[in-house]
Symmetry: C2
Subunit: 457 residues, 2 copies
């Protein structure tokens, strides 16, 4: 809801809580959508959040759990961890199995084991445990095993009756059709069901050319399929093509958002599960290793500069202009890297067209090296009065931006070939490259200039 409305509701919640007006408070909470409750919860201090959740759960446990699920599995599990395993079992049964599994996975290990054990004994409770058998970030992990499926011999009117009796299933988007051994054989849309005469068997009106995914498929791949075929849901099958679950578009949206966040974060060296309000110690612990790696590469660059100490002693102005070329190389390489990594993520860049991309990035690098080198050279000449320094900047800039274009393309592609996420380690490799090359080109050329002067002078 809009920030202004949220603030109003939030104020009322706090006021009612202070007054101890529990009944009014629960009434107010009951009127909100799950997503709005999640937003309210996230703005409340820890203790008040727990109170609000507990009060709501007593009155309307389904709504309370939906709100908790919207809050995300980590924050959601934090609200449950003080409860007994029995209570948690009862509460999580209000959720679809995939959402329940995500929450339980974030509970402390011992508690989550007890909860899973208790769930096994319940009807359909075993679903949650089954989901957690699948590897993280696969279709099996995010699917809902309660899928509405009908036998191929049913008629349209029988299907409608079955649909009317299915209160427990998540909103039905498509009716999947299975044979006697639960193999997925077709799909019928709800709308199509309304258009045919009641006696028509599903077999005659179903579409057999349907898109399904295997339970082991990576969730990012699933999201790409749902997005590119504009689907509302996609059926999940096992290795024998038996229907085991369904993934709905709302789960796919979460995957797309999470994967984009992961890419953005990895490019900047931030762990993908960090958020704005991750506790300070944890953020520190998560970001430190990345900075340490960068410190290592900074020392490599420093070692390169160290090779040219004599040159710098002889021509101190070099020290002033020295950071410009590596810095620009880093910026240009980041541009290239970003376009390449995003191109790989969106599926636009493939092995068959990688060569074309490389040639383009090299050309852009040289072009930008020339353009920026001329500007930098002119500034050094006109304002500092050292034309030799200007030519040095020009030459080193062209070399380094060429390297930036090449490394910015080849490094993510190489990581992809090694089956490592291209976003993960690209930045640090690339800035090492452009730093080393930038300093080496600028100071190396400067050393040559000094020698030539020595010869002629």
């Amino acid at each position: 809801m809009p920030q202004r409305k949220l603030d109003v509701v939030l104020d009322s919640v706090k006021r009612l809580m202070r007054m101890g007006a529990t009944a009014n408070l629960v009434n107010l909470l009951q009127k909100q959508y799950p997503a709005d409750l999640a937003q309210l919860f996230s703005e409340l201090p820890d203790k008040e959040r727990q109170t609000a959740f507990t009060l709501l759960a007593e009155r309307n446990s389904r709504l309370a759990m939906e709100a908790l699920s919207e809050l995300g599995p980590e924050a959601g599990a934090a609200l449950l961890r003080e409860r007994s395993a029995d209570e948690i079992v009862k509460l999580t049964q209000e959720l679809p199995s995939d959402d329940a599994a995500a929450l339980i996975d974030y509970l402390p290990e011992e508690l989550s084991a007890t909860v899973l054990e208790l769930l096994q004994k319940r009807p359909a409770g075993g679903d949650v445990g089954d989901l957690l058998e699948y590897a993280e970030q696969t279709a099996g992990r995010i699917m809902n095993p309660k899928v509405f499926a009908l036998a191929e011999d049913m008629t349209a009117s029988e299907a409608i009756t079955a649909l009317q009796g299915s209160r427990d299933v998540e909103v039905v988007f498509y009716l999947y059709v299975i044979d006697a051994r639960r193999h997925l054989v077709g799909v019928v849309s709800l709308r199509r069901l309304l258009l045919v005469s009641p006696e028509t068997p599903l077999k005659r009106i179903m579409t057999t050319d349907l898109i399904s995914v295997r339970a082991e498929m990576d969730q990012e791949e699933v999201a790409r399929l749902v997005a590119s075929y504009n689907l509302l849901a996609i059926p999940v099958v096992d290795e024998e093509n038996k229907l085991v679950g369904v993934i709905t578009v709302d789960d796919v949206i979460d995957v797309i958002k999470d994967e984009a966040t992961e890419d953005i974060y990895r490019l900047a060296g931030v762990s993908s599960d960090e958020r704005v309000f991750t506790p300070m110690r944890e953020s520190l612990r998560k970001r430190f290793p990345w900075l340490l790696v960068n410190l290592g590469t900074a020392f490599i660059a420093a070692a390169v500069v160290g090779l040219f100490q004599h040159t710098i002693s002889a021509w101190v102005a070099l020290a002033v202009f020295m950071p410009i070329v590596p810095g620009m190389g880093g910026n240009a390489a980041t541009q290239t890297l970003t376009v390449i990594v995003r191109g790989l993520a969106l599926g636009e860049l493939t092995w068959s067209n990688a060569r074309k991309a490389l040639l383009k990035e090299i050309a852009v690098g040289i072009g930008n090296g020339l353009a920026n080198g001329i500007v930098a050279g002119l500034v050094a000449w006109l304002f500092v009065g050292q034309p030799a320094l200007g030519l040095l900047l020009l030459a080193a800039m062209i070399v380094n931006l060429f390297v930036a274009g090449m490394a910015g393309t080849l490094i993510p592609l190489g990581l992809k070939a090694l089956k490592i996420d291209p976003a993960l380690a690209s930045t640090v490799f690339i800035t090492t490259f452009t730093d080393v090359c930038g300093f080496a080109a600028f100071l190396g050329l400067a050393t040559m200039v000094l020698r030539m002067k020595g010869h002629t002078g």
Copy 2:
């Protein structure tokens, strides 16, 4: 489709094209989904792409146009621009108005004006022009004005009959209910329609508490609503709450992907409409200004170094270690910036909790400054044998990573307050800050050390 299958189909397409086996080629193309055709088209060289599209459009113009629309408006419009306005009008009418509008918007100006003029004369063709009246990136631009709406006095059975007759409308997700003056008053799900007796008036079964958006709303805000309330579609209304269109979840997925790409790109200084295969000249032209701005800031940093030329002449080892502190500041600031920008985009960071985020980032900055400063200081001491240099690195690192945490939080928040996209210009501001502070802290402290030595020696 999977890369391997795509390659097989692609080879067949190329072979059939070389053989001139037009009929077989069209048959093969006809069997593909629009999204797969788009992928095929994007892998074909320009001329072959045009041929394949033309052949398919002759046989199955709807499928050809759906594929073209999946290709994205820019690449799609490129395939149409050689055709006459009449042909374009005929072809775009195969698409929903929102997709047609996006394509036409990318045609050369004169051609698009003629096309819009011709469209005005067609029944319902005016829709496209109306959509283009809305500002870019608003709900009005991406909505489909053909929305399935029913009068509140209709009965359930009348509604089903109406639904059966509605062939032209995009897949129906929800049935919106309007009053006599087209005000949006409620919504009925397809499933609910099946559950009630045929004579029930819609008025009695509709939900009146429904979420709608105004046509002027920013598309990112629309996407956030659809995602957080798990909707399949959201109705669009005008200032009088009259129903003017509907936005479906597949369009929302495109918005989410585009906005994530935009954020990733902006953080790296890449224009948001650049793709891997944007022509080289255009990429060069788009990336140069950003690099030039960075060059400017690099000269500012160089000017700071210039203030300390005497210090560097007296102690050349400073030049070797000088780039480390600004570099680390840049890395730490990028981490903070990324978490803050993504937090703002996902709605987790708001004005009411900004202070908490700032304090946390400052603490993380000081903590990481201390940790990395100790490592850097020890390396300088143990390997270079200069304890004073080590202490300098430690002190300067703490100062600069404190600055990085503060600037990395305050700059994006400040831009947001000024209603500028926080991702847009943050990086360049922040690296200027961390470069200037990094050099100034390190070289400034070194100057003080030298003076003290001068006093005591």
